[in-house]
């Protein structure tokens, strides 16, 4: 994999930020977009735009076909069995809410238990919290250790006959922990408990195979996988989508509508009410093609190389502390610098063109557990180079200089 060739596919890297070249280390938040994706969107609006499904003129037929092609690509990308198991939402957050709401409506009653973990993003906690509020369900948090690994034995101990669902991230957006989903599914299977996987951070960075994981639900966002904003993806085993009630109601998700009765459309339309993010879904096909053009193994190898290099170099800076040390770690590096608040770090780094994120990264539970209020986070995408890391480290040293710590 030639990273410079890949980087050159991203127009934004030819721009200057504060007079400096952009060192983008905020891909866990959202990735930059390659020109093929940008062009697809542009051309769709220029030459092909139409709403899908409802009209039968040529533009609509074309758009509908293209839309369904993306569904097939996504199915293949995550190795699902049926294309009807792929539901498009606006983001991963909506996808998780869809499951929590519809599953909860049908299966959660007072006193029922939901297991999540201390690693979860708010988007995989708040939707379950709603069930706690509205249905008097109980949320149990599987604990993590100081390395940022979920303690699987402790998770296992939380399972009772009242456990109705386990929802867990595949890859932490704070520590980069890669969670052993298969072990968790194995525990769940024994008790017939469905498992939802938050794949927001895994989809862009590691090989996804939902059949192999054998999870019931898998949610991710297009914008983190080199795709446009406005598209989320929910994979769910067909049996669930058939059994669960609909989520958003409106046009396109119905079959027959009478004054006293409504029947719903078959899958996947049942869950795709109203005008979809048509252009975005169609464009997302190019993002998958981009991922495939690199090859997930090459991508993983490259990102590991950059991550290892970054860890090594950061560890050499005395006052830098890296948060978590998981067994399997992807390219998400959260850190603190003694004496400098992450917010100040982010501002100072930005002056050098280095974009990182500071804060709790939507993981307050994790930060509370680790006794932190905020961390700085550098996260790696396929376009990052060792040069980027060198610039990051130099910028960190500049923080220390400004704060007179060196």
């Amino acid at each position: 994999m030639d990273v410079n060739e890949i980087k050159s596919q991203f127009p934004i890297f030819s721009k200057k930020i504060n007079g400096k070249s952009l060192v983008y280390l905020d891909s866990s938040n959202s990735s930059q977009k390659p020109i093929s994706v940008i062009n697809r969107l542009n051309n769709f609006y220029k030459n092909e735009f139409s709403n899908i499904g409802r009209s039968i003129h040529s533009l609509a037929v074309n758009a509908t076909n293209k839309f369904e092609e993306t569904r097939v690509s996504v199915k293949n990308f995550i190795n699902a069995k049926f294309k009807e198991e792929i539901i498009f939402t606006k983001n991963a957050t909506e996808a998780i809410n869809l499951v929590a709401t519809t599953f909860g409506q049908q299966n959660i009653k007072e006193g029922d238990e939901i297991i999540i973990t201390e690693l979860e993003h708010h988007s995989n906690y708040v939707p379950w919290h709603f069930l706690r509020e509205n249905k008097k369900a109980i949320i149990k948090f599987a604990p993590i250790n100081n390395d940022g690994d979920i303690i699987i034995e402790e998770l296992q101990k939380l399972v009772t006959s009242k456990t109705k669902i386990i929802a867990v991230t595949h890859l932490s957006n704070v520590t980069g922990t890669i969670v052993p989903i298969k072990e968790i599914v194995e525990i769940a299977r024994k008790k017939n408990i469905p498992v939802l996987v938050d794949g927001c951070q895994s989809a862009p960075h590691i090989k996804i195979d939902v059949l192999d994981l054998d999870c019931d639900f898998y949610a991710f966002s297009g914008h983190k996988v080199y795709g446009p904003t406005g598209v989320g993806i929910l994979y769910a085993k067909r049996k669930w989508l058939e059994k669960l009630p609909p989520y958003i109601g409106g046009g396109a998700m119905i079959s027959e509508v009478k004054k006293n009765k409504i029947t719903y459309a078959p899958l996947p339309e049942k869950y795709e009410a109203g005008t979809m993010p048509t252009a975005e879904v169609i464009t997302f096909n190019e993002s998958i093609k981009f991922m495939e053009s690199i090859g997930i193994n090459n991508l993983m190898k490259h990102e590991k190389e950059i991550t290892d290099y970054a860890l090594e170099k950061l560890k050499k800076i005395n006052s830098v502390k890296i948060i978590g040390n998981p067994k399997n770690k992807a390219g998400v590096i959260s850190f603190t610098i003694k004496g400098i608040h992450p917010h100040d770090i982010a501002t100072i780094l930005d002056e050098d063109g280095v974009a990182i994120r500071a804060g709790h990264h939507c993981c307050q539970i994790f930060h509370e557990k680790m006794n932190l209020t905020a961390t700085a986070r550098a996260s790696i995408g396929v376009y990052n180079t060792k040069d980027d890391i060198d610039i990051l480290c130099k910028a960190i040293k500049n923080c220390q200089k400004i704060f007179d710590l060196k």
């Binding site: 039968i56 076909n65 079959s255």
Partner: protein, 156 residues
Amino acid sequence: MDLKELYQDIILEHGKSPRNLGKCEGYNHDAKGYNPLCGDKVHIYLKLDNKKKVESLTFEGEGCAISLASASIMTELVNGKSFDEAKDIMSSFLNMIKNTSEIKSNHLDDDQKTKLMSLSGVKQFPMRVKCATLSWHTFVSALEGKKKEVNTEQID
């Protein structure tokens, strides 16, 4: 694409005056089909004799010229066929619409094949394929005694 191929005279004629409309007497199978996209509906009534031969086949429905003509032509061609023959004709029809451009079934004579081929223009109009196939899927559903309504959104 060619509208003349889609709207051949025979299609227009069957569309305007569909054959075998209504409930056939003594029907012992029936099934409903629905295309939610355009609102096309069909209700198939089928009388199978005790050897599972199609003794009579009629339909009620509303829809476009293509869907009415397709249902009408189907009732003509399948009447009198055995269970297996009927299914063979149906797959050969679907195959013609979706893949090849010919009718391969051995259970139709040349005139009948020509009649069925009048629907082949649909191939060039992908959004209209479901109009042509709805009644056929619904017929098979009746034949096999399935209870669920056929919904074009669930068939490929």
